[in-house]
Symmetry: C2
């Protein structure tokens, strides 16, 4: 046997598999979770690079595994404004949020451990955890996020290691966990002794409705491990995220990271620090919100106009995704074939389920398509839908 | 049990633990494997960033897991000049070489698998592999690198998964595997059916002697997995390395990387591509070689002048390190205590052994110290040596 046995559990992301289609000419892609390149502060990055390149001898050097102190200081202050009190020692910079998920899997999951995920949940998290062979317990969601009462019933019967949740503008569904449920979840975590992994890449991208406190900001007993990322508020090309965790977890996490990639890029960390401390970040986020709100509205209007009445979709207050559930007879695999012919693509919903996939669901990204192509794309998709029905 | 059982095998690097000392005022540090910041092309990086930032919409975006095509094309051509023929599909960009080592461990090592390492070998590789719980077989080295005849004797008795080697200017010893031994090793790999992981971060940093072909360039049967890095020929702050492997390994590796961090930074990949294609790289490497040769010579002269006759050290033709073996009565742990008082630090040799450490060895880095402080540092170290003897 050439390969390690664990490679049986390696799964490639269907999102990444769709990349080849998205690069075809005239294809309208609602597939990847890509920010819009017009939302990247390119000129500001050039100016920051000019400013910081000779700042100190560490800008281009190896850095501390936990991340440069200056960036962790800046994040500490920023987190404080969001109600999260933390020490810089509890903040660890990661090579994107994906690394945070993977390393948490590595230090927490024994084969067979019960871990709870939303149903559906972020595919990349499932792939990060699966190599460590957990037993998934899926909890359904509704318009207020994970059904915590269903979780409670499970907890009465089974011991779990952690709950993984994307409470705000969830990927893939766009739904947000209500404040009441956040508190309820925290109570359960105390009562039944498990961690909450709160994955929060999107909360800065709110377009309507009121802010809801992060679970971490409500957490008095260090039960929440918080993850976030620069990918949506600066750019993904820097590969920078961060986690906030208690000392014990933080220490193990740091050693695991040291062995995995030594440290995240110092160069982009220094740029990110200046991006925060100069205040450019807040202007940029305003611009991003405005752009994405417009795109969300265009897509929701187009769905109303073109999509069949027997399908339903979420109306997210923020984030990057709309989740569609078709009539149960719609075979999304077939739909994708027809859609590619119509020159539009999306991501099938099934891979976002850890267990019991719904094959009549899809995820639509609205952030990375030109305004005038969003309606056109939805129109094409509705045509593919008609053809699949006629073809059936 | 809060943590996964595998965390028992997580080991922190002693090199990283020494960082806190290296930042003390007036400390002369021979500890880390850091390139010299004066060897970083800062101004060129600013100019490249200005040039490429608007090159295409992917510069700041998520990128393909295997790395951007443009950089893999540039590396393919550069590898060809070194006698390594490869297709761009066989090149995968990594988040530093450390990630390459970690992911190879993940996809190749089952608990208990025999893997062969040099004795001593690169500590970071041991830490990357150890979490996957291999059984290490250590093969001694001499001035011509790993003793392949000793390896052959082992192979007659034991089945192994792979040999991990840093054949050129080895970390930590500075020694180079002779051409004859490279060929002999390849023959054994064919005969006994194992992989060779050739870790090659230093071969561009040759200061004397003749170039020796990489093992990969001699490999006709895809038995060699080759790793290299931009850390020593551009800067470590970009976190960019690459591996070259056959299709089957490459595929598994790519999925493992996808789950670990999605992709390496597009931003620094585009800079690295321009750094190669503009030809700046070759001018820069000339400059680096000149600088490091001078530093190596200063350190070798200082060792001759100050170090006791009953100690011996390597005379590397390149790379970043000199390896010292003291008289067996010297307790390096005690030496370090005295050295810190004298304001000079180094790395103890013992952690570089997978098995049977020699406690009378140390590693000296010569690249990251100002010329005029190298002799001073060696002098301080010799004073610490005298004190430890007097103290004994």
């Amino acid at each position: 046997m050439k390969f390690a046995d664990r490679t049986k559990f390696l799964k490639s992301s269907e999102i990444r598999e769709m990349l080849k289609y998205s690069q075809m000419p005239d294809m309208i892609s609602f597939s990847g979770g890509y920010p819009n390149p017009h939302a990247f502060p390119s000129r500001e990055i050039v100016r920051i690079v000019e400013k910081i390149i000779d700042k100190n001898k560490f800008v281009l050097q190896y850095g501390p595994t936990e991340g440069i102190k200056e960036l962790r200081e800046a994040l500490k202050k920023r987190m404080q404004k969001k109600g999260i009190k933390t020490d810089i020692d509890n903040i660890k910079i990661t090579t994107g949020s994906q690394q945070g998920l993977f390393l948490l899997g590595e230090i927490l999951i024994n084969p067979g451990d019960n871990i709870v995920v939303e149903s559906p949940t972020y595919l990349g998290a499932l792939n990060a955890f699966s190599i460590f062979q957990p037993n998934y317990i899926s909890i359904p969601i509704d318009e207020n996020g994970m059904k915590i009462d269903v979780l409670e019933e499970k907890l009465k019967k089974e011991k779990i290691k952690f709950v993984y949740t994307i409470p705000t503008f969830q990927n893939p569904s766009g739904t947000t966990l209500s404040l009441d449920r956040r508190k309820y979840l925290l109570e359960l975590a105390e009562k039944y002794d498990f961690f909450i992994i709160e994955d929060d890449p999107y909360s800065e991208l709110r377009y309507s409705g009121e802010n809801i406190k992060s679970i971490k900001s409500l957490d008095k007993n260090n039960l929440v491990i918080y993850l976030s990322t620069f990918s949506k508020i600066l750019c993904p090309g820097f590969r920078l995220g961060w986690i906030i965790a208690d000392e014990e977890i933080g220490k193990k996490f740091e050693i695991a990271k040291q062995n995995a990639d030594l440290c995240s890029p110092n160069f982009t960390q220094y740029i990110a620090e200046e991006y925060i401390n100069s205040g450019i970040i807040d202007k940029q986020i305003k611009l991003i919100r405005k752009m994405y709100k417009r795109k969300r509205d265009i897509m929701l209007n187009a769905l109303n106009k073109y999509f069949p009445k027997n399908s339903k979709w979420t109306k997210p207050d923020g984030g990057m995704f709309i989740w569609v559930e078709f009539h149960e007879k719609v075979d999304v695999k077939k739909l994708l074939e027809y859609a590619i012919k119509e020159k539009v693509i999306f991501i099938s919903g099934a891979p976002f389920y850890a267990t019991n996939p719904k094959y009549n669901t899809i995820r639509l990204n609205f952030t990375n398509t030109e305004d005038n192509l969003i309606e056109e794309g939805i129109k094409r998709l509705s045509q593919a839908l008609k053809k699949i029905k006629e073809g059936d």
